[in-house]
Amino acid sequence: MAQVALRPARTYAYRLALPGAVLAVIAVAVAAPGLLTGTDPLAADPLHALEAPSGAHWFGTDHLGRDVFSRVVHGARHSLSIGVAATGLAAAAGVLLGLAAGLAPKWLDEVLARSFDVLATFPELLLALLVIAITGPGTANVIFAIGIAQIPSLARVVRAQTFVVRRAGYVEQAVTFGLPGPALVFRHVLPNVLGPVLVLATIVLAQSIIAASALSFLGMGPQPPAPEWGAMLSEARNYMRVAWWQAVFPAAAVAVTVVSLTAAGRVLRYRFEGRDA
């Protein structure tokens, strides 16, 4: 029995290797960009503007002569911190609301569940734009906007999972021990609800990074000259014909990050589901 339970972990471990390695490099870029590049991402050098990739500038230079590689590396911090913060916000609110809906009396659950449904009918980016329209642009507002837009998907999963767990044999059994309500929720229900949330969070994180780049592209996020992948793409638009590298590398950074996160999330999901299978 134990052997069977262990097998998925062994089988899928190697699938985590490549996305794991990419994510590790990205993590270094976020934590200590200085380790990957010694060049200042903000140092303009108009004499060497729009130079193609070379030994000196691996990803070339942009229209102000800034090193694109350095900007991509330093941009990881901006793009990812928005994504991570927004996901954290969405997860906290989603777990709280989903748990409340899953445990609440029927009428309250109906109210909460229907509001998740209504929110979920809006495309996430549109909802985020709506929030920005009210709050105005800026990094904090982008986090807030994306976070709100991601709440419904998480809250729905938590609510559904809460329904399953609260009827589980071990929760009922804990009632017979005389455990008070809050202890039941925090000892048994919440911890057992979190597993699938963790898996979904990796996907939400990937979506949030895309959303962050998209909003920055539209000029809603970190303001220039801050190196943010979406903002870099936006600046590169005007030079696409002469300097493809200025657009391709930040775009590739977004793509590689998101694909790695999704792949890692899938491995997590298999592992999680394998545990119960």
Partner: protein, 556 residues
């Protein structure tokens, strides 16, 4: 260890002098990847008109043996044999194509769980018609009619209607019969039935066994796989007892049941709870069962009292006017078939479900219909042991944490000591505390559940089918453990089971439930030996009995 298995295959002919339909000598099946030798040298032969039963506990290799005879040993299996013939042909050289002709046409397979074995998206009639189509035994335009005939033949009422329904619309008994109908559709000469009645109620089980007996009388050969000696006793001509992949004993049914030679067979027979085993220990290899520890029932003190319980879910009423008293140190059996409302009664008694009318008193205090806040201090007085212990354990917890959970009020050091004491009490080594329930066997898990329930020293233990998922020898140990605990602690047991033998073995008094009502109540011997209600009489008559030893004329 006497390996008597070889005698069958060398015997040239069966009862009617006919050649065996399937014969295998020294069958070995291993799963090299998992490092398991599932079957280690089994020989058997099944002749036309004969029923051979393989009896054994989980892991004995009985199912793998049976499936290997159809070339279905499973992925990654390595099958070898000295000689292996199916219908007189060398099965060791069979191609996939040869096997496909064997399956369905020559041999039909009936498995345990009809719900997962029938396609949920297709009607039962279509499922049966497919067998007819694959083997091309009936012209296309007659297939639907033939499917209905088959359903009728296996005792499905209203076959026209049922043929148009899907598996989930049928009860467990009807599904099992539909599965048998599809297994016999191509009129196979050999029927292999792998635990065909295990999930069924006792009266339905009797019907299914009768049905299989009829097929045998009609000339088909039957290979019956079961963990239950009593079930095969009524149908089988010969019994093979398997353990750890080998046959430990083989012989005519009557001889094996009345004069078992191998100690394991004796242990299995002694472990079967019944009227005869009352007041004795079950888990003993001796021919004479030692007596169970003495216990006292205090009829003057009712620890639990239920009066006029009515309960339901939504608009559906599942419990209708149920009343009973449970005294100190007493065991009250609650029997009934699935859907009779037994588990709902248990949930009401545990304060997990509120009755619509009626009330429950625990130690004379109002227990139902009160606020949870008032109930909480009394909660430790009544504990639950459920059918599926794994489901009742938080999947993240170790055994130690699970057993400690009802003991939250104790200081940490005392709690650890008490957990160790409880594990010892139920016969588990102290290291078990560090392990996870998933790593334990079914019997060990149920011991953990018992240890946990004993923690708060409850006055009432509600046991909801506590041994239904266990092998008979493990069941015997768990039942003995419950009897020991009751004798030592004076705990009252509300013992819920569909297995009348288990209830008769353990209980002092019994309640018989049908459709939410108590149809009969009284002293267990009185109720089971002289049932007054026809429903009870029917239940008792349907219990498969070991005592009858001799295969009966089940046909007709």
């Amino acid at each position: 260890m006497t390996e008597t298995g070889t005698t069958a295959a060398v015997r040239p002919a069966g009862p009617g002098g006919a050649a065996p339909l399937v014969a295998v000598t020294n069958l070995r099946v291993s799963f090299p990847k998992a490092g398991v030798d599932a079957v280690r040298g089994v020989s058997l032969a099944v002749h036309p008109g004969e029923c051979v039963a393989i009896v054994g506990e989980s892991g004995s290799g009985k199912s793998v043996t049976a499936r290997s005879l159809l070339g279905l040993a499973g992925p990654g299996a390595r099958v070898s044999a000295e000689r292996f013939t199916v219908d007189g042909r060398d099965a060791l050289r069979f191609t996939d194509r040869d096997w496909r002709v064997v399956r369905g046409r020559f041999a039909g397979l009936v498995v345990q769980d009809a719900l997962v074995s029938l396609d949920p998206l297709r009607t039962v009639g279509a499922e049966i018609a497919e067998v007819l189509a694959v083997h091309d035994v009936v012209p296309r335009r007659d297939r639907a009619a033939r499917a209905e005939e088959l359903l009728d033949a296996v005792g499905v009422p209203e076959p026209r209607l049922r043929a148009r329904q899907r598996p989930f619309q049928l009860s467990g008994g009807l599904r099992q019969r539909a599965l048998i109908a599809s297994a016999i559709a191509a009129d196979p000469r050999l029927i292999i039935a792998d635990e065909p009645t295990t999930a069924l109620d006792v009266t339905v089980q009797a019907q299914v066994l009768r049905l299989l007996g009829e097929r045998k009388a009609a000339g088909a050969a039957l290979l019956l796989i079961s963990h239950d000696l009593a079930v095969v006793a009524s149908v089988a001509d010969r019994i093979l007892v398997m353990r750890d992949g080998t046959v430990v004993e083989e012989g005519p049914t009557r001889r094996v049941l009345s004069a078992p030679e191998h100690p394991y067979t004796r242990l299995l027979l002694a472990a079967v709870p019944s009227a005869a085993s009352r007041g004795t220990r079950l888990s003993s290899p001796e021919p004479e069962r030692p007596p169970a520890p003495p216990r006292t029932v205090d009829r003057s003190t009712a620890v639990l009292e239920a009066t006029g319980l009515v309960a339901g879910y939504g608009a559906r009423t599942v419990v209708e006017d149920v009343s009973f008293r449970l005294h100190k140190g007493e065991t009250l059996g609650l029997v009934g078939e699935s859907g009779s409302g037994k588990t709902t009664v248990a949930r009401i008694v545990l304060g997990l479900h509120e009755p619509i009318r009626g009330e429950v008193r625990l130690h004379g205090e109002p227990w139902s219909g009160v606020r949870e806040r008032r109930r909480r201090p009394l909660r430790s007085r009544i504990q639950l042991i459920s059918q599926n212990p794994l489901d009742s354990f938080d999947p993240r917890y170790t055994v130690g944490r699970i057993v400690a959970e009802p003991l939250r009020d104790l200081p940490a050091a005392e709690r650890r000591a008490r957990v160790a004491e409880l594990l010892e009490r139920v016969g588990l080594p102290a290291e078990t505390a560090e392990r996870r329930p998933r790593e334990l066997s079914g019997g060990q898990r149920q011991r953990v559940a018992i240890a946990r329930a004993l923690g708060p020293r409850p006055d009432v233990l509600v046991c909801d089918e506590p041994v239904s998922a266990l092998d008979v020898s493990v069941q015997a140990q768990v039942l003995d453990l419950l009897a020991d605990i009751q004798a030592a602690e004076g705990t009252a047991l509300l013992f819920i089971s569909h297995d009348l033998g288990v209830v008769h073995h353990l209980s002092d008094r019994v309640l018989v439930m049908k459709d939410g009502r108590v149809v009969e109540e009284g002293d267990v011997d009185e109720v089971f030996h002289r049932p007054r209600h026809p429903y009870t009489a029917g239940l008792v008559a349907a219990i498969p009995r070991l005592e009858t030893g001799e295969p009966q004329a089940v046909a007709g």
